[in-house]
Every structure is written in structure tokens, then in C-alpha cells.
């Protein structure tokens, strides 16, 4: 029956050009499943060539799997490029140059005074508005300012800084430098200081304190002091004074890692939980 069907198909197509049809029939007379089969012939006579060929069963060419469309790379450069392309300003180059200079000058002027992400975002948004309002280009550049605002919104200070520098570079038409790799965490600390304003301390802070103090190995390595700590001579505690100078404007409560020489080598806002606090300390060698 199957053979009759096959011959019927051939008859129907007679006279028409068609691709070769390969049928491999099994012992039961039924065709083998479609697919690629390899025919190997090892000649007994060395003078004859071996045969190593693929037989495609099914007659047609199996179409290759569809290639998914390329996904645009989600790099900072790509995102900034898209934002800039969305700006509808006939004076885009000139406006972009003014904005670039404003970004760079602002970052330079605030390099030592702004150390937190919120303040940096606020200042840069203010500068953008000032420049664009003065040029009457605020609406035209809204895709750029809104988009850049969304990019930096969840970032920490270091990431914000890198992004604004990249944005300035993009406005200048230059290549966007890749963000620097994050520095590896310091692992050479041997002690730590937690600066915690007593009057701002909460139950959660006490839970963190208790967890540290219950750890007989960790506890001796961690001081937990009020920023107004004094010595027996009623002088400000010199280590606390040094810590505050090191931290600058970074807000408390803060955990600081200290190396063998007594220098501060890393710091962070006091983590929210005992586990995160102990993990931060351990990563830096305080354990």
C-alpha cells in the first residue's frame, strides 16, 4: 500500500521538475523516518575509495532553525546612544557641548564635597535644568534628561559618578569609556569601628550590637562608639575624630574597617542586619 502511494506520488509529479526524493525503506517496507543518515562503505580493496556520505531522507532541505533577531547590547554606551538619538534638537551638537561642559565642571567642583548618590543626582539634575532652560531646549532634551535620570536612579555614588562622566563623553561625541571594574574589597583589616549616634540608635542597632558581642572571636575586634566619645581627659576620642575626618560627609551609622597599622581602609553604611554586618566585616578580614 505504501509502495502504491509512493508510485502514485511519483506519477502525479511526473513531468514536473522536482528535487530528488530519497526514500529508505525498512524491512517492513515502511519508509524510515526523515532525517540525515550516514552511509559508510569501507572498501575491501585498497584501490577503491571509501564512501562516507550523508543521505537526507525526506526530500527537501530541512530549514535551519530561525535565527532570533539580534538583541541590542544593554551597555551604558548603547543606552546613552539611544537617549541622544531621541533628542529632537536642530542644535544638538552645540547644546550637547554646553551640557557636556556643565557636567564636567560640576563634577570637578563637587569632587571633594559631594560623596553621596542622592546629592550628586540632585546637583546634576539642577545643572541640566539650568543649562537647558537658559537655551530654551528643556523640552527637546527631555528624552535625554529623563532617560539619564532613570539610569542613575538606583545607582550608588560610585556608579552615578561613572555614568555622568560617560554621559559627558557621549555628548562630546567621543567613545564612552567602559566603567572601571569595581575595586576588590579590602581583606587586610584586623579590627573595626562602628560609629553609632546613641540617640539615633534603634532596636535593630541593638540586635546588631548583641550579635557582635555574643561572638567571642569577633567582639574583641570591634569597638562600637558614639561620635561624641571622650577620653578620661575629657578630650574627643582621637580614633573617633580620625574616623569622622576619614568619613567626611558620609552619614552615620557607619562601619569602618581598620588595618594592622590602625588606618581606615574601608567603610560602609552600617548594614541592616546582624548577618550582613558580620559578613561585611568577614569579607574585609575582621572575623
Amino acid at each position: 500500500m505504501r509502495q502504491l502511494a509512493i508510485w502514485a506520488m511519483l506519477a502525479l509529479t511526473s513531468g514536473q521538475a522536482f528535487a530528488d526524493i530519497t526514500l529508505l525503506l525498512g524491512p517492513d517496507g515502511n519508509p524510515l523516518p526523515n532525517g540525515a543518515y550516514r552511509l559508510l562503505v569501507i572498501p575491501s580493496d585498497a584501490t577503491k575509495p571509501p564512501v562516507n556520505t550523508v543521505l537526507h531522507v525526506g526530500g527537501g532541505v530541512t530549514p535551519p532553525p530561525p535565527v532570533p533577531p539580534p538583541v541590542p547590547p544593554d551597555t551604558l554606551d548603547a543606552r546613552l546612544t539611544l537617549l541622544l538619538a531621541a533628542v529632537d534638537d536642530p542644535d544638538r551638537v552645540a547644546t550637547g557641548t554646553k551640557l557636556k561642559v556643565a557636567y564636567e565642571m560640576t563634577l570637578q567642583l563637587t569632587a571633594n564635597s559631594i560623596t553621596d548618590a542622592n546629592s550628586l543626582r540632585g546637583v546634576m539634575a539642577g545643572i541640566e535644568k539650568g543649562v537647558l532652560d537658559s537655551l530654551k531646549k528643556t523640552a527637546a532634551w527631555q528624552p535625554w534628561t529623563a532617560g539619564l535620570g532613570e539610569i542613575v536612579k538606583p545607582m550608588d555614588f560610585s556608579q552615578c559618578l561613572t555614568t555622568y562622566k560617560a554621559a559627558a563623553a557621549k555628548l562630546g561625541g567621543g567613545p564612552v569609556p567602559p566603567p572601571p571594574p569595581p575595586p576588590p574589597p579590602v581583606t587586610t583589616a584586623v579590627k573595626a569601628l562602628i560609629l553609632l549616634e546613641t540617640e539615633d540608635s534603634t532596636q535593630q542597632h541593638e540586635l546588631i550590637r548583641q550579635s557582635i558581642r555574643a561572638d567571642q572571636i569577633l567582639s574583641p575586634k570591634v569597638m562600637i562608639l558614639d561620635p561624641n566619645s571622650k577620653t578620661e581627659n575629657d578630650q574627643p576620642d582621637p580614633q573617633v575624630v580620625a574616623a569622622k575626618a576619614y568619613l567626611g560627609n558620609r552619614p552615620l551609622p557607619r562601619v569602618l574597617a581598620i588595618n594592622e597599622a590602625g588606618g581606615f581602609v574601608d567603610d560602609e553604611a552600617l548594614p541592616a542586619t546582624p548577618e550582613a554586618t558580620k559578613a561585611w566585616l568577614a569579607e574585609r578580614g575582621v572575623k
Binding site: 546613641t198 540617640e199 540608635s201 534603634t202 532596636q203 542597632h205 541593638e206 540586635l207 550590637r209 548583641q210 550579635s211 558581642r213 555574643a214 567571642q216 567582639s219 574583641p220 570591634v222 569597638m223 562600637i224 562608639l225 558614639d226 561624641n228 566619645s229 571622650k230 577620653t231 578620661e232 581627659n233 576620642d237 582621637p238
Partner: protein, 279 residues
């Protein structure tokens, strides 16, 4: 948390008479009644509907500031309870700031004998003034103190008790190493409980006796405060202190007793001096 109800709302005056212990808290003199700033003026007071969850978190953590206590103190038969409780509170704060292993035991009699007689007792704000200005000598039976003296950090240790024991010349130069920084007055039940929730220790008194309150608890849904007494370990309920040691010496005050204490003045100590050699 299950409490030992035998030590709830103890009448200190009666208990002292029955057991041969001493009290020794006097009302504050008028000129010191408003000595300290109010806790309520600068700290968040937790609403009462938050207490249950917050205390549950304390219970879940296994303990609270009583775990900073190195030992239960024993004032013996001297009316020095205010300074004994002050010594305990100061030692607890040392543990919080520097670590339990760095606590130096303090001689409460070194302060009391300048602020009370052999029989009179003393006031809590008077102790606040003393602790902020002069301090207490460290105890001469503390091995760490002996090591400090050998290292030259200071010179003058003193026994914990013994009203009549003279202090060595120059002792104030040592006592200044062991001072508190600032005290707050607590005048409401809400502030009292909130301070305990935040890990502060409170000196509170009633029935002529002062104790060191260390932990808020709930007993049948009702707020109580656990304190460390200074009557040694022959008094009180058993709880775990530093190093996993279980010891007697604790009691509990109900809301009514807390109200009594805050109406007369309870005090929370903010921080202690960090001596320059404390590393």
C-alpha cells in the same frame, strides 16, 4: 518568656528586712530633680501597639542587655544600692561599647562613701553628677584591673564594699577613667519601655531601693521590666548573663511599679568614657 512570679513586684523594704539585705535610695534633692535632660525629648517613643512585636524580637534573639552582665553584684549590708546599680549599669555600657571581655569591675563604695553615710543611702541624680564628674575606682579583685595597673594605665584600685576603707591618695586620677558621659531622665512608662527596647539600661527605684533595669518582657500580655538587683545570688530569678552563665539575681516590675518609678524619676545612662588605653 516565662518569668519566676515569686520575684514580680517584690516589696524591697520588706524583702530586705526578711533577708538581711539593704536598700539605700533617697529621693533626689530639689536642686537635682531636673538635673538630666528628658529621654522623651530626644528619643523616639514606641507606640504601645508595637511593644508586643518588638519584645517578641527580643525574646527571639535569646536575651537582651542582661547578656552584657559579667556578674550580679552584692552590696552586702551597706546602703549603697544606688552606686551598686550605677556600677552595674556602667559595666553594661562598657560591654556594649568595648566588648564584654574588656569590662572592668567597678568599686561602687568608692563613690558612695562620698555621697552617703554608713546608714543614709543616696540619690540617683546625685550619682549622675558624681559619675559625670568624678567616676568610680576599679575593683582591686578584678584580674584585668591588676593587669592595667601593671601596665601603668592607672594606679588606684579599691574594694567593692567597705565604707570605712580609705582610698589611696590620688585616687581621683584613676576614677576619672571610669565615668559616664551623660544621663537622661525617664518620666513616662512609654519612654521607660522604649528605652529598654532600644537596649538602654535604666536605674529605677521604689520602696527605698534602686535597681538596674535591663529588659522589657511580656507576662500574659502585660508589660513588665526585668532588673538586675545588687543583693547577690541568694535573691531572685535565674537568667543567662554574659558567657552563657546562668545566675540568680533578677526580679521583675509590673506596669504599676514602672509607673511608680518614673513618677519619682528613673534615669538612663547614655555612654561611658573611653579611656585612652581601651583598644
Amino acid at each position: 518568656m516565662i518569668i519566676d512570679s515569686r520575684y514580680l513586684d517584690v516589696n524591697f523594704a520588706v524583702e530586705a528586712e526578711d533577708t538581711g539585705n539593704m536598700c539605700g535610695m533617697l529621693p533626689p534633692p530639689d536642686y537635682l530633680s531636673d538635673y538630666s535632660p528628658l529621654y522623651e525629648a530626644s528619643q523616639r517613643i514606641y507606640p504601645e501597639d508595637e511593644w508586643s512585636d518588638r519584645i517578641a524580637a527580643i525574646d527571639a534573639s535569646g536575651g537582651w542587655t542582661e547578656r552584657y552582665i559579667r556578674m550580679i553584684l552584692d552590696q552586702g549590708r551597706e546602703p549603697s544600692c544606688v552606686y551598686a546599680a550605677t556600677a552595674q549599669a556602667t559595666q553594661i555600657i562598657q560591654a556594649k561599647q568595648f566588648g564584654v571581655d574588656k569590662v572592668r569591675f567597678l568599686s561602687w563604695i568608692s563613690g558612695y562613701r562620698h555621697n552617703g553615710s554608713r546608714t543614709s543611702g543616696s540619690s540617683v541624680p546625685g550619682a549622675a553628677v558624681w559619675m559625670e564628674g568624678t567616676g568610680l575606682q576599679p575593683r582591686n579583685d578584678d584580674p584585668r584591673v591588676k593587669a592595667d595597673i601593671a601596665a601603668g594605665f592607672y594606679k588606684h584600685a579599691h574594694p567593692a564594699t567597705g565604707y570605712g576603707t580609705a582610698q589611696a591618695s590620688g585616687w581621683k586620677e584613676t576614677a576619672r577613667h571610669f565615668r559616664t558621659h551623660e544621663w537622661f531622665k525617664v518620666t513616662s512608662v512609654g519612654a521607660f519601655v522604649s528605652a529598654l527596647i532600644n537596649g538602654w539600661v535604666i536605674l529605677g527605684g521604689r520602696d527605698g531601693h534602686c535597681v538596674c533595669h535591663v529588659r522589657p518582657m511580656l507576662d500574659g500580655g502585660k508589660i513588665i521590666s526585668m532588673y538586675a538587683n545588687s543583693w547577690g545570688t541568694s535573691f531572685g530569678a535565674t537568667h543567662e548573663i554574659a558567657g552563657g552563665v546562668k545566675t540568680r539575681g533578677f526580679g521583675y516590675d509590673s506596669r504599676a511599679k514602672i509607673s511608680t518609678m518614673v513618677s519619682r524619676g528613673a534615669w538612663a545612662i547614655r555612654t561611658v568614657i573611653r579611656p585612652s588605653w581601651m583598644v
